[in-house]
């Protein structure tokens, strides 16, 4: 059975209203990025004790989200599940877009965004961050070639590039995890498990987002979506959730068992602060257990979309937990001593997200959304209406 693809008309008032709203949000986001660039990062909530904030959280979140779309496209092109072929083009496009959004968020967070091209001129082979710059940009390129091969109906090339893209995605997510895992001076960052658990979280949040966007897009463009396909994806989603939970359990049990890191783990999990709340309520309960139970019991599309939204929210909490508490906790310069100084040595750092950072983050998401709906209008991404 051959699948035919078409563009959307993109002439309805709904389309233009959406375009307008996203455009305004995007402009606001870029303006706040400009303010940070022109006046300095004191406008953000970041400080010398917590130098990484919301933009980094959004960056690793968007990188992770792009994984799910790639899984979806590989189902048909690599694993031969032809019933998913109708989703394959839009999925690859989405994977590339989310990566573009991630790079945008990362670029706008730089103190000197105008120097970003230097990262391509001075590669440092010892820096995982430098490797990631290469991995991210080549991943976007692979997605573009992948799309091109799909448009030209080159079945064999699609299969080869699809396989390469899956391998590359593992590299992209492991490398992103490595940024944190390779940091030996911070107890909550340093872990060999970070790269694989990033792959797992990427798969679960990415699959969740893909389910939501597919259902919304097909509904908005009045296309028929076989519920069985969504149920199939939801089975994948529930297994990804369980893998994420498994990694979290292994990592934290190992940390809390070892006396050297048990204090830091207590701080994260049991000290009753806002991070414990985000971990237990946001990530574990709302973001993992509740959607896993719903997905086991309910098989209707609306319940699946609802639990997907919970998973997408849960992984946002996970990203927050990865980035912030590890910085808030002071590094132990003098074990066995109390330390104090005017530069807050030995004291807990604090980070409050500033409104400007939120506007910028929303702006980045709006730009991704804008490119998504414009893509639907200019390229034949969606299967023909039946």
């Amino acid at each position: 059975m051959k699948t035919y693809f078409t563009k959307i008309e993109g002439k309805s008032s709904g389309f233009y209203i959406l375009l307008g709203i996203l455009g305004v949000l995007a402009a606001a986001g870029l303006y706040s990025a400009y303010l940070m660039f022109a006046k300095g990062h004191y406008l953000t909530g970041m400080n010398n004790h917590v130098p990484w904030g919301l933009p980094i959280i959004i960056t690793i979140y968007l990188i992770g989200l792009s994984a799910g779309s790639l899984v979806l496209s590989s189902l048909s092109s690599v694993f031969g599940k032809t019933e998913y072929k109708g989703f394959s083009r839009i999925a690859v496009y989405l994977a590339a877009l989310l990566l573009v959004g991630a790079l945008l968020s990362l670029g706008l967070d730089l103190g000197r965004p105008e120097r970003i091209m230097l990262a391509f001129f001075y590669l440092n082979p010892q820096s995982i961050f430098s490797w990631n710059g290469f991995l991210y940009s080549s991943y976007i390129l692979i997605c573009i070639v992948y799309l091109w091969a799909m448009f030209k109906e080159k079945e064999k090339l699609v299969k080869i590039i699809g396989t390469l893209a899956v391998v590359w995605a593992v590299g992209v997510h492991s490398g992103t995890g490595g940024i944190f895992g390779f940091t030996s001076g911070r107890e909550l960052y340093h872990s060999p498990l970070t790269p694989p658990s990033f792959v797992a979280a990427a798969l679960s949040s990415g699959t969740g987002l893909t389910i939501i966007l597919l259902v919304l897009t097909f509904k908005a463009t009045r296309r028929f979506l076989d519920p069985q396909l969504i149920v199939g994806l939801s089975r994948l989603l529930v297994s990804f959730i369980l893998v994420v939970l498994y990694f979290l359990a292994v990592e934290n049990l190992t940390r809390i068992y070892s006396p050297a890191s048990s204090e830091a783990t207590h701080f994260l999990l049991f000290s009753g602060n806002v991070y414990c709340l985000i971990f237990w309520v946001g990530l574990i309960f709302i973001g993992s257990i509740v959607p896993a139970i719903i997905l086991f019991i309910k098989k209707s599309v609306s319940w699946i979309v609802f639990s997907s939204a919970l998973v997408v929210f849960g992984v946002l909490c996970e990203r927050f937990i990865i980035v912030i508490p590890g910085q808030v906790l002071p590094s132990e310069l003098f074990p066995g001593y109390e330390v104090s100084s005017p530069f807050m040595d030995g004291a807990m750092g604090s980070y409050f997200i500033s409104p400007l950072e939120i506007i910028q983050a929303v702006g980045v998401l709006a730009i991704v959304g804008l490119l998504y709906i414009l893509g639907l209008k200019f390229f034949a991404f969606l299967p023909e209406k039946k």
């Binding site: 103190g111 120097r115 010892q126 100084s341 390229f379």
Partner: protein, 232 residues
């Protein structure tokens, strides 16, 4: 707009963005000629017993020399107290350890952080893109980010601190190249700090280290710090 025009405009935007930083890039290519010699390996030994609680002479001298803003610290006087009853608090100056195997240099994605031949770890502020990964990995918290453009110049020979880059102690590299001591070492009224060539066995620092009593902060992390402490 058809697909072709859309692609053309897209390619134009990408190309223009890529060209933007080109002039800056060219000027950066010549940034790293230094007067360093591999014969020297600069290091510091600080006798904390001579250090006085509440004194801020080293911090003030550093700010004045390097035009550092009040929110950032290239050197800071911390107080440590053992977690036992009736322990005495001990003041201790903390600064960049100029590690021999520095994490910050390892992770810098544009090689803006680098180690000179004489072991001084520097930041090329014209190359730093301000990603702050070095601040994340430095276990000694030696680095500060310039959050706000700092106009005040107490020392016209030292550059103004532009916002958007990371800064830290450079052992007063321009003074060392003139044969002078770092500002903090010179300013200390109690002569608590000694600075010199670790490679030269006759230097004051080498002799103090040879006593076997000098300790470094968290050498277990493996970055081989070059700031030593006596009396800890």
């Amino acid at each position: 707009m058809d697909r072709r025009t859309f692609l053309k405009i897209g390619a134009g935007v990408v190309a223009t963005t890529a060209m933007g930083p080109l002039p800056q890039l060219v000027s950066c290519l010549h940034a790293k000629d230094t007067k360093a010699s591999a014969k020297n390996k600069w290091g510091m030994v600080i006798d904390v017993a001579k250090c006085v609680e509440g004194c801020s002479v080293c911090m003030d001298a550093c700010r004045k020399e390097n035009n550092v803003s009040a929110s950032n610290y290239w050197i800071r006087l911390a107080t440590i107290k053992p977690k036992v009853p009736n322990a005495k608090p001990q003041p201790i100056p903390l600064l960049c350890n100029h590690c021999d195997d520095p994490f910050c240099v390892k992770v810098c994605l544009v090689k803006a952080s680098f180690k000179r031949k004489d072991g001084i770890v520097l930041i090329d502020e014209h190359r730093c893109i301000g990603c702050r990964y070095c601040m994340i990995v430095c276990p000694y918290k030696s680095r500060s980010f310039v959050f706000k453009h700092y106009e005040e110049t107490t020392n016209p020979d030292s550059p103004k601190r532009q916002h958007g880059v990371v800064e830290k102690c450079d052992f007063c590299v321009s003074r060392i190249d003139k044969g002078l001591m770092p500002a903090c070492v010179e300013a200390c009224p109690n002569k608590a700090m000694a600075f010199g060539n670790l490679n030269d066995p006759n230097s004051e620092v080498a002799k103090l280290i040879a006593t076997g009593k000098a300790q470094r902060i968290r050498p277990d992390l493996g970055s081989k710090p070059k700031v030593y402490y006596l009396g800890l």
